[in-house]
């Protein structure tokens, strides 16, 4: 056992007391004097022209806000300029905002929204990936049925395929997943002395600031965004909050009141971004020695009505889908298809969960096809330190896949369980394994080209140090862990470091709180700023900044998709054991085990919290979280219908950290927030497959699906 580094020793969350006592003020807890509420009118059609919007007679104190009130640009600023803040003459998905009613009484607003009539002229909608790709005319977006299309090559797949002795092919499908953060989207906008201040629930204060500047047409100096305690994000509060923030701000300008905009749960599920449904085809070509010599992979994702983050998510899908394996010849392509549904977006893992489900199940299937033990088969293809990744980037830090695999297999007693008879008391038992990685930080050189993060430290006379970053505290422990890095580096007690919630009026832009970049990138900058400060510690006042520098030797070609796709990687392996009832086909999770290499954990208690929370979301994704669409409308719009794991659904989770140090991260830390979700679903699916003896090719693995497989599969 490694000796624990002092940075890893649990220090206690700095935001613990205010949350434990209920004193923490979330957005919905604020009530500034004279506050108005706001409710949103949304499209009830998947694709239609708006012919007219008929308002009822409105009370004097109710004000309507729509596209006409957008003085700046009616486009959400995120990667592609396609999504309006308010629909103008056309709607493209059910739930798209058309207008907002604002006034003093929320119940009255709800009635008003219900009584507004919209005259639509319906247009033929595209509702699935297949429909999108089969259309030859009336394409819903641009010239193609997709927003983006990528392809890359490694080696010479065509020649290798020619030499193959055997080929194995699979097709996988995955469904939506809803973030289901406990606190719905919430924003409070207030205008004072010509400055618009928006406070609320969010991951990326500077994204919201950008959106306000664009919609209002105001200078940066007149816009201020402050994150409030946020009841979970998981990606769902990455780009989406720009929309309610702008709606609330426009309402505040028009009424001269503070305006609170809080989504109802059903509304939140219906109209905010979710994990992309996907269809992934994998074909492996092996030589006579059972070695994979080439692979062809095609990824299709359902992006919904606007591009949003779908291009970036697709990049992560196609860079992750080759898995943790060294294959010399690859052809990988991906398309994010346009459909008339709620835009898909960021969700912890960001394309990784779909990709690793596909590749890990495929590895199981190939191993079975050639009659080799699936773990042994994986091991002979594992990536190693110094290897080139699928995109040809060098793996500079240690890669401990063997140790990770051995650790989780010992912990779970995998081999013993895999080889024992499978029907104790008539139930079918199975155990499954997955291995995976998560690339940490933004894709390629985007940390340099797009984000260019900065952090600042200020020491006052009383020797307290203020830490200024834009990293949001979402429950993941950003405030505590970043403060710990500062304190450890400065060699001062943690209580001497002060770090608040990010405020764009005060903090430098250290980038969004996404992509498992908070410790790796921002934490590294905090460490650098602290080292600089240490040199000037004797001065009465001292302020230091640190700016992101792209590490030497790294490069990435965005067009060709070649080079270092990520700055660093975190690795993991999961094992899940299930019991399937052969009569009801219900699947009971008996145990889940994990080993992760996150480098040095910055606080083992906080890291353990990420493991338990992330794996639970991953298991939910694997077997119970069902969100179906019918005619473009989500069928599960409440927490009763959209079921996330409860305390009774979760089994015991046991895990180990296999620590090998990152060459880049502070104190050798890698990233971890997303990694913990990625591998649970494929391990669970492999366990079900092992239990019922039929190949599983779709997520979630519900009892209905198990029944279908058992009877017909």
């Amino acid at each position: 056992m490694l000796e624990m580094k002092s940075i890893s020793v649990p220090a206690g969350r700095l935001d613990f007391s205010e949350k434990m006592t209920g004193a923490a003020k979330f957005c919905q807890d604020l009530r500034p004097h004279g506050m108005f509420y706001a409710k949103t009118l949304r499209s009830s059609k998947p694709r239609a022209k708006i012919r007219a919007v008929r308002l009822p007679l409105l009370p004097d104190n109710v004000v309507i806000v729509d596209w006409r009130d957008v003085r700046g640009k009616n486009i959400v600023p995120i990667v592609t300029d396609d999504q309006p803040f308010f629909a103008r003459d056309q709607v493209n998905y059910i739930g798209e905002p058309i207008l907002v009613a604002t006034g003093p009484n929320p119940d009255e607003l709800r009635k008003i929204i219900d009584s507004i009539q919209v005259d639509y002229e319906e247009l033929p909608a595209v509702l699935t990936i297949e429909e999108a790709l089969s259309r030859t005319s009336d394409i819903i977006y641009g010239d193609h049925p997709w927003f983006v299309s990528y392809e890359y090559l490694k080696g010479d797949p065509d020649t290798a395929i020619h030499e193959a002795a055997i080929s194995v092919e699979d097709e996988f499908h995955t469904g939506y997943q809803e973030q289901a953060y406990l606190e719905p989207q919430s924003m409070l906008a207030e205008q004072k002395d010509g400055v618009m201040t928006v406070r609320g629930s969010m991951q990326c204060p500077f994204y919201v600031e950008e959106a306000l500047m664009q919609a209002l047409g105001w200078e940066r100096t007149r816009v201020r965004v402050i994150q409030l305690p946020t009841g979970g994000g998981f990606g769902g509060k990455e780009d989406y909050p720009s929309i309610p923030a702008v709606h609330a701000a426009l309402a505040a300008i028009k009424t001269g009141r503070p305006v609170m905009l809080v989504y109802d749960r059903g509304e939140d599920i219906m109209c905010t971004t979710k994990r992309h449904p996907s269809c992934i085809r994998v074909k492996s070509h092996l030589d006579a020695n059972n070695h994979i010599i080439a692979r062809e992979i095609e990824v299709l994702s359902d992006a919904g009505a606007y591009c949003g983050l779908s291009g970036v998510v697709l990049q992560r899908m196609i860079y992750s889908v080759p898995g943790v394996y060294q294959v010399q010849n690859l052809r990988v392509s991906g398309r994010a298809c346009a459909t008339n549904k709620v835009p898909s977006g960021a969700f912890r893992g960001f394309g990784g969960p779909q990709a690793f489900f596909a590749i890990e199940m495929h590895m199981e299937h190939v191993a079975r096809e050639i009659g080799v033990d699936p773990l042994l088969f994986r091991k002979t293809h594992f990536l190693r330190q110094g290897d080139l990744t699928a995109t040809g980037g060098r793996l500079r830090s240690p890669v401990e896949l063997e140790a990770i695999t051995d650790s989780v297999c010992t912990l779970s007693d995998y081999y013993e369980k895999r080889s024992t008879p499978k029907e104790p008391g008539g139930k079918l038992r199975g155990i499954g394994f997955s291995a995976f990685f998560h690339g940490c930080g933004f894709t390629g050189a985007d940390e340099r080209d797009i984000i260019s993060a900065r952090v600042r430290l200020c020491k006052g006379e009383d020797e307290t140090v203020n830490l200024y970053v834009s990293s949001a505290e979402l429950g993941q422990g950003a405030i505590t862990t970043l403060s710990k890095i500062a304190a450890e580096t400065l060699d001062i007690p943690l209580s001497q470091v002060l770090c608040g919630y990010p405020d764009t009026g005060v903090c430098p832009n250290s980038g969004p709180t996404v992509a498992s970049r908070t410790i790796l990138v921002v934490g590294r900058l905090v460490q650098e700023a602290a080292l600089k400060m240490k040199e000037h510690w004797d001065e009465a006042f001292c302020e230091t900044e640190s700016h992101f520098r792209y590490p030497g030797g790294f490069s990435f070609d965005k067009k060709l998709h070649t080079g270092d796709a990520y700055l660093e990687y975190a690795w993991g392996a999961n094992v899940v054991e299930v019991e399937v009832d052969p009569i009801t086909y219900s699947c009971n999770i008996l145990g889940a085990w994990a080993a992760f290499d996150i480098g040095t954990p910055i606080d083992t208690t906080i890291a353990a919290g990420q493991v338990h929370g992330g794996m639970t979301q991953g298991l939910g994704y694997g077997c119970m979280e069902v969100l179906d669409m019918k005619a473009g409308r989500p069928l599960q719009c409440s927490l009763t219908d959209y079921m996330i794991p409860t305390s009774l659904d979760v089994c015991k989770i046991d895990f180990r950290f296999v620590q090998s140090e990152s060459v880049l991260g502070p104190y050798g830390a890698r990233g971890m927030g997303e990694l913990t979700l990625v591998g649970a679903a494929p391990a669970l699916a492999a366990a079900v497959e092992n239990a019922i003896g039929k190949p599983v090719t779709q997520l979630p693995v519900t009892s209905e699906y198990i029944m279908e497989l058992s009877r017909h599969g």
């Binding site: 649990p10 206690g12 969350r13 935001d15 613990f16 007391s17 205010e18 949350k19 434990m20 006592t21 209920g22 004193a23 923490a24 003020k25 979330f26 919905q28 807890d29 009530r31 973030q179 289901a180 953060y181 406990l182 606190e183 719905p184 305690p229 946020t230 009841g231 979970g232 998981f234 809080v262 109802d264 749960r265 059903g266 979402l474 429950g475 993941q476 422990g477 208690t605 906080i606 353990a608 919290g609 338990h612 929370g613 992330g614 794996m615 639970t616 979301q617 409440s638 927490l639 009763t640 996330i644 794991p645 409860t646 305390s647 009774l648 979760v650 015991k652 989770i653």
Partner: protein, 166 residues
Amino acid sequence: MDNAICFLLNNRSVTLQADPLRSLLDTLREDFGLTGAKKGCGEGECGACAVLVDGRLVNSCITPVIAVEGKTVFTIEGLRETPRFQELSRCFAQAGAVQCGFCTPGMVMAAEALLMRNSFPTEQDIRTALSGNLCRCTGYSAIVAAIMTAAKEGEGLWPASFDPGI
């Protein structure tokens, strides 16, 4: 029509004029400024709004205020003044049972409700008692562990009792 409604709120007797069908959650948050209980769904599905009414855990968002007439209502703001809370707080901190904190006040009330009627809960008892309170961050393990420790180490704080009925 508004009614005069009286109840005991965190050990203080209160009277208010309100629409009898107004939700207890809105009453607590807006009329009394007690914002510890949260609205996660407003439909009785998540437990973020959980408070104790006569010692029983209820989702205040679907409880009309008239239903607490003459009863005792206990919220996180009341509980946090007690030594039992201190013990729960110590154990929640140690176990890492709080992440975003949005579910926390409801979870703590659920823990209190459980320990009040069963001071020696098994892990399964705890999981059952929390099953109406959703948490999307923690995966529940740390919360369950925290309550387990509080029950063990907080002996005497909760009445020694076991009431299998809910």
